[in-house]
């Protein structure tokens, strides 16, 4: 019953938390906490109603932070060190299942198919968007979760507020008509990664076009990873996809990685 509800929420990419007593009274007891728009549903019990209430509240916090951790309580949900003296400790494993991170790819080109495939391996929810109906088809991108035939602006104004540090936007179009609004829309979000494909020459021209529409702030331009990807000598779409995803990982964890955007010289040697 509880497993069925958990599996269903994970499969539907809905947030859910599984709490399990791993030590102390009622070891093995489980509680499922599932937030919906208006209320928080729970299923099961850790063995005490007050403990359930306190732990559920903490579970929502862990979920919002995308964290999975072990928390200690008293048998009736006590949390302060004074209250925890002389009581057995209930250790609860709080396991968050957040919806997967999203990758929005603008431009339905060959590189897109390879990037969408690698992103799926990494667990992303992948959206491919292009205004050209003949290219943006589910048939060409069967691995994508969604294929949208539209322009960047409506997509990003509708979904931008849902994008955060774990998410990525990759702009592979090379077409100023498409690139410029995609970059403007991406910069208006708090997305963790914005990669833009194109040679150094293309990017220099793109910067001029961005300046024409008023995108000039250094802190904005700094967010643009262009040329996109790491300097690992990628040639094929698949190799390029690996270099892009590796750059995304490096940026997310704050490692210094050999990004093409931070180096000089030809991309292909």
């Amino acid at each position: 019953m509880l497993y069925t509800a958990l599996a269903e929420r994970i499969r539907k990419n809905k947030p859910v938390v599984l709490l399990t007593v791993i030590d102390g009274p009622n070891t093995g007891a489980t509680l499922l906490v599932a937030p919906d728009q208006t209320q928080i549903e729970t299923l099961g019990t850790l063995g005490n109603a007050e403990l359930d209430r306190v732990a559920s509240r903490d579970a929502i916090g862990e979920l919002e932070a995308g964290r999975t951790s072990v928390r200690n309580y008293g048998p009736a949900g006590q949390v302060t060190p004074e209250d925890l003296q002389d009581t057995p400790v209930v250790r609860v494993f709080v396991e968050s299942f957040s919806p997967p991170p999203q990758m929005i790819i603008f431009g339905a080109v060959d590189f897109t198919a390879a990037l969408a495939r690698v992103a799926k391996v990494l667990g992303y929810y992948v959206v491919v968007c292009d205004a050209r109906e003949v290219f943006a088809t589910k048939r060409r991108f069967p691995m994508a979760d969604e294929v949208l035939v539209t322009w960047p602006t409506p997509v990003l104004s509708a979904r931008g507020s849902n994008l955060g540090p774990r998410d990525a936007i990759c702009i592979l179009t090379h077409d100023p008509k498409f690139d410029v609004p995609a970059i403007q829309g991406a910069l208006a979000t708090s997305v963790g990664y914005i990669g833009v494909m194109g040679s150094r020459k293309t990017h220099a021209k793109r910067l001029e076009r961005l300046a024409e529409v008023g995108v000039t702030k250094p802190q904005d331009l700094d967010r643009l990873m262009s040329p996109i990807g790491l300097d690992i000598g990628s040639r094929t779409p698949e190799e390029t996809a690996i270099s892009i995803c590796a750059e995304i990982i490096g940026k997310r964890v704050g490692r210094s990685v050999p990004s093409l955007a931070k180096s000089e010289g030809p991309i292909h040697r």
């Binding site: 509880l2 497993y3 599984l18 791993i22 093995g28 999975t68």
Partner: protein, 105 residues
Amino acid sequence: MREILGDIDRWRAQNKRIAVARVVDIEGSGPRDPGAAMAVNEDGEVCGSVSGGCVEGAVVAEALEILNSKSFGRLVKFGYSDDEAFAVGLTCGGVVHLFIQPLSW
């Protein structure tokens, strides 16, 4: 957990008894983060993983014992510093804490 749901569903449909092992904590260097999960059914079939392959064999033995002992679940620790219960460990030098329980929920 996501990647083992399919196998668990199949085993449940066959009315197999199942134990689930999850990483709940790591100390030092560990190959998988908390939440990494594997499942073992009563026939010893396995899906998922909780390390880089270092401790899975011992987890299967422990999981089968839990299934056969009517236990509600227990914490198990693997690591180089642990010279007690198990002769297996993580070559990376870290310690991994697992909770193994029957999937009775």
